[in-house]
C-alpha cells in the first residue's frame, strides 16, 4: 500500500473507529455488563483488520478462501461484534442484544451462534493454537489465505501460548500473524505487576518469530505491520502498544474498567466525548 493510500485509509479508519467505540459503549451499557477496557484498546486493531486487511465476504461468511481471524482475547468481543456489524455480517441493531438470552451475541464469542465467528473463545490461551492449526491447513491446501490471532498481553501469561509460539516457526507458518493488544492491564492490576511478560519482542524473536512493535492506535504504523506476511518461514508477531479504555477520558488507563459496564450517565458522557471527536 502506497503512502497516499495509507493516509486515505488512516482518515477513513479514524472516523470508523470513533463510531465503533460509540457502538461498544452503547452495547455494553445496554447489556449492563461486559469488558469496555480491552474492547476499546483492541478496536483499532480489529477495525484495521476487518476494514482494510482481511480478505473476507461478509455476505458469504463461510467462503473457503477467506482469511481467518481468531479473537483469542474473547472478552473483547464487543469490539469484534461492532466491526462485524459495520461490515454487514448482521444488522447493526442486533448489537443491542449483547448478552441477552437467545442472542447470537454471547458474552464471549460463540462460532455456533454467530456466522463469521471463526473460533469460540473466552478461555484465554487457546486462540493461537487454533490459529496455528488454521494456518497449517492453509499451507496443506496450498492456499494464500492468512490467519490472524488477536491476543491480550495478560493472556501471554498462559503456557499454551508459548507452546504455540514454539510450534509456529517449526511449521514455517509465514501466513500466521499474532497481534498482541498491549494495553498493560488485567483484572488484578497492571500486567507488569501481576506477572510481567516483558521483554515480549525479545521473547518472540528468541522463538524465531518476526516481531513488529507498533503503536496500536496509529493506523499509519498498524496497517503496514498487519499487511505484510512473514518471510523466511517466520510467523509475525505485531506487538501493538495500546491504551486500555482508549477514547473515553475517564476510562483510559483505568484497570477498574476492565470488566465493568458504564452507568447510563457514564455512557452518555463517553458518547458525548466520542461523538465530539475528542479521541
Amino acid at each position: 500500500m502506497t503512502e497516499t493510500r495509507i493516509s486515505d485509509a488512516d482518515v477513513e479508519l479514524r472516523s470508523a473507529s470513533r463510531e465503533l467505540r460509540s457502538d461498544i459503549i452503547r452495547m455494553i451499557a445496554k447489556a449492563g455488563s461486559g469488558h469496555p477496557g480491552g474492547s476499546l484498546s483492541a478496536i483499532d486493531i480489529l477495525a484495521a483488520l476487518y476494514l482494510k486487511v482481511l480478505r473476507h465476504r461478509p455476505a458469504e461468511p463461510l467462503w473457503p478462501e477467506r482469511d481467518r481471524l481468531v479473537l483469542s482475547k474473547g472478552h473483547a468481543c464487543p469490539a469484534l461484534y461492532a466491526v462485524m456489524a459495520r461490515c454487514g455480517y448482521f444488522p447493526r441493531q442486533q448489537l443491542d442484544t449483547l448478552r441477552v438470552l437467545g442472542s447470537p451475541l454471547q458474552g464471549h464469542p460463540d462460532r455456533l451462534r454467530l456466522a463469521g465467528i471463526e473460533a469460540s473463545t473466552g478461555s484465554l490461551g487457546q486462540g493461537l493454537s487454533i490459529a496455528l492449526g488454521m494456518a497449517l491447513a492453509a499451507r496443506m491446501d496450498r492456499s494464500e489465505r492468512r490467519v490472524f490471532c488477536v491476543l491480550g498481553d495478560g493472556e501471554m501469561q498462559e503456557g499454551q501460548v508459548w507452546e504455540a509460539a514454539m510450534a509456529a516457526p517449526k511449521f514455517a507458518l509465514e501466513n500466521l500473524t499474532a497481534v498482541v493488544d498491549m494495553n498493560g492491564g488485567q483484572i488484578d492490576g497492571p500486567t507488569r505487576e501481576v506477572m510481567d511478560i516483558e521483554p515480549l519482542a525479545e521473547k518472540f524473536r528468541a522463538f524465531r518469530w518476526e516481531a513488529r512493535e507498533v503503536d496500536g492506535h496509529d493506523f499509519k504504523a498498524l496497517l503496514p505491520a498487519l499487511q505484510a506476511p512473514g518471510s523466511k518461514g517466520r510467523p509475525v508477531a505485531v506487538l501493538a502498544k495500546t491504551v486500555k479504555g482508549k477514547g473515553v477520558s475517564f476510562m483510559e488507563g483505568g484497570i477498574d474498567w476492565h470488566g465493568k459496564a458504564p452507568t447510563a450517565e457514564e455512557a452518555a458522557r463517553a458518547l458525548r466525548e466520542l461523538e465530539g471527536g475528542k479521541s
Binding site: 488454521m134 514454539m166 511449521f171
Partner: protein, 312 residues
C-alpha cells in the same frame, strides 16, 4: 483366540483408512511409537504433524485444522491427553470441532510404568462434556470398526485404548454400532432370572467373559454386555437387564466413579429396583504386571465372579 493391544489395531486401521480419505491428518506429542500412529506417519508424512511434548497446543491446532475441513486425529497417552481438559472443553467440545482424541495406555492395565501414566478419570471427564462421543473398544475387530466409524463421523470423539494385549471377544460377523451395548456372553440356561448382567468395557471384557464362563460351569447364569460406547450409553440394554437380572455389575479399568459404573447407575436409576455393584479402581494406580494389578484392584475374573453371586 488371538490377543492384540487395541492401540495396535487402531494404528493399523488408521494407516489403512488414511489412504481412503485425504482429509485425515494425525497429530502427535512425542509418543507416536507408543500410540501406534507411526505407521500412518510413515505412510503419509505430509499429513503427520509432530507437536512435541505440548499437548494443549496440539489439541488447539487440531481444532484449527478441523475448522478448515481436515479430520485431525490426535494421539497421546490417555492421561496426558484428557489431562488437558480445558483445551478439550473449549476448543473441541464447546466448538464442536471434528477432532478425534485417541488416548492409549488407559488404566492400570498398562502395568509397570505406574500411577502417573495411568488414566483413571478420563472417561468421567470426557463423558461430562456435552456432545463428546466416548468409545472404548474391546478387541481387534471392534477397534478397527470403531476407528472407521469415528473417522466418518462428524463431531468430537474420544477413543480410549489399551496398551496391553486383549483377547478377541467378538464373532467375525460383529458390527460396531455407536450407542449400543452388545452381548459377548449369554448363558445357555436362565431360571427364572439371571444371577447378574455384567457391564464391561475395554480391558475388562475378556475377564468378565472368563468369569461368566466359570460361573456357568458352576450352575450360575450370568450375561456379559460389552459397552464400547460410554457416551452415548445404551440405556435400553440397562432397562432390559433390570427386567431379567437379579443384579447389575459394572467392571472397568477406570475410577469406580464417573465412568462405566457411573453411566450404569444413571441409567439404572431411571428403572429402579435392581442393585448395582460397581467394580472399578478406588485409588491411583501403581507399578506391577497387568494381571497382578487387575487381581489386586478387584478387576480379575475371580473378583467379577464373586461380585455376581456374593450375598448383597
Amino acid at each position: 483366540m488371538t490377543a492384540k493391544a487395541t492401540r495396535q489395531s487402531f494404528g493399523e486401521a488408521l494407516a489403512e483408512l488414511g489412504a481412503k480419505d485425504p482429509r485425515i491428518v494425525v497429530l502427535d506429542a512425542d509418543l507416536a511409537k507408543s500410540t501406534m500412529s507411526l505407521p500412518f506417519a510413515k505412510r503419509f508424512p505430509e499429513r503427520h504433524f509432530e507437536f512435541g511434548i505440548a499437548e494443549s497446543n496440539m489439541i488447539g491446532a487440531a481444532a484449527g485444522l478441523a475448522l478448515c475441513g481436515k479430520v485431525p486425529v490426535v494421539t497421546s497417552f490417555a492421561c496426558f491427553l484428557t489431562g488437558r481438559l480445558e483445551s478439550i472443553r473449549i476448543s473441541v467440545a464447546y466448538m464442536k470441532t471434528n477432532v478425534k482424541l485417541v488416548g492409549t495406555h488407559a488404566g492400570i492395565g498398562i502395568g509397570d510404568d505406574g500411577a502417573s501414566q495411568m488414566a483413571l478419570e478420563d472417561i468421567a471427564a470426557m463423558r461430562a462434556l456435552p456432545g463428546m462421543t466416548v468409545l472404548q473398544p474391546a478387541d481387534d475387530l471392534e477397534t478397527r470398526q470403531a476407528v472407521e466409524w469415528m473417522l466418518a463421523h462428524d463431531g468430537p470423539v474420544y477413543l480410549r485404548l489399551t496398551r496391553q494385549k486383549v483377547p478377541d471377544v467378538h464373532a467375525a460377523d460383529y458390527r460396531f454400532q455407536p450407542g449400543r451395548a452388545d452381548a459377548v456372553f449369554e448363558p445357555a440356561k436362565r431360571s427364572p432370572k439371571l444371577q447378574a448382567t455384567v457391564f464391561a468395557s475395554g480391558g475388562t471384557v475378556g475377564e468378565a467373559v472368563e468369569a461368566a464362563r466359570g460361573l456357568e460351569s458352576r450352575g450360575f447364569a450370568v450375561r456379559v454386555l460389552n459397552c464400547a460406547s460410554l457416551a452415548p450409553f445404551d440405556a435400553e440394554a440397562v432397562a432390559k437387564a433390570c427386567a431379567d437380572s437379579q443384579r447389575l455389575v459394572s467392571v472397568e479399568d477406570h475410577n469406580e466413579n464417573g465412568g462405566l459404573g457411573g453411566a450404569l447407575c444413571e441409567a439404572a436409576s431411571r428403572v429402579g429396583g435392581v442393585p448395582v455393584v460397581r467394580l472399578g479402581v478406588r485409588s491411583f494406580g501403581e507399578s506391577g504386571l497387568s494381571e497382578e494389578l487387575y487381581e489386586k484392584h478387584g478387576l480379575s475374573a475371580a473378583h467379577i465372579a464373586e461380585a455376581c453371586i456374593r450375598n448383597l
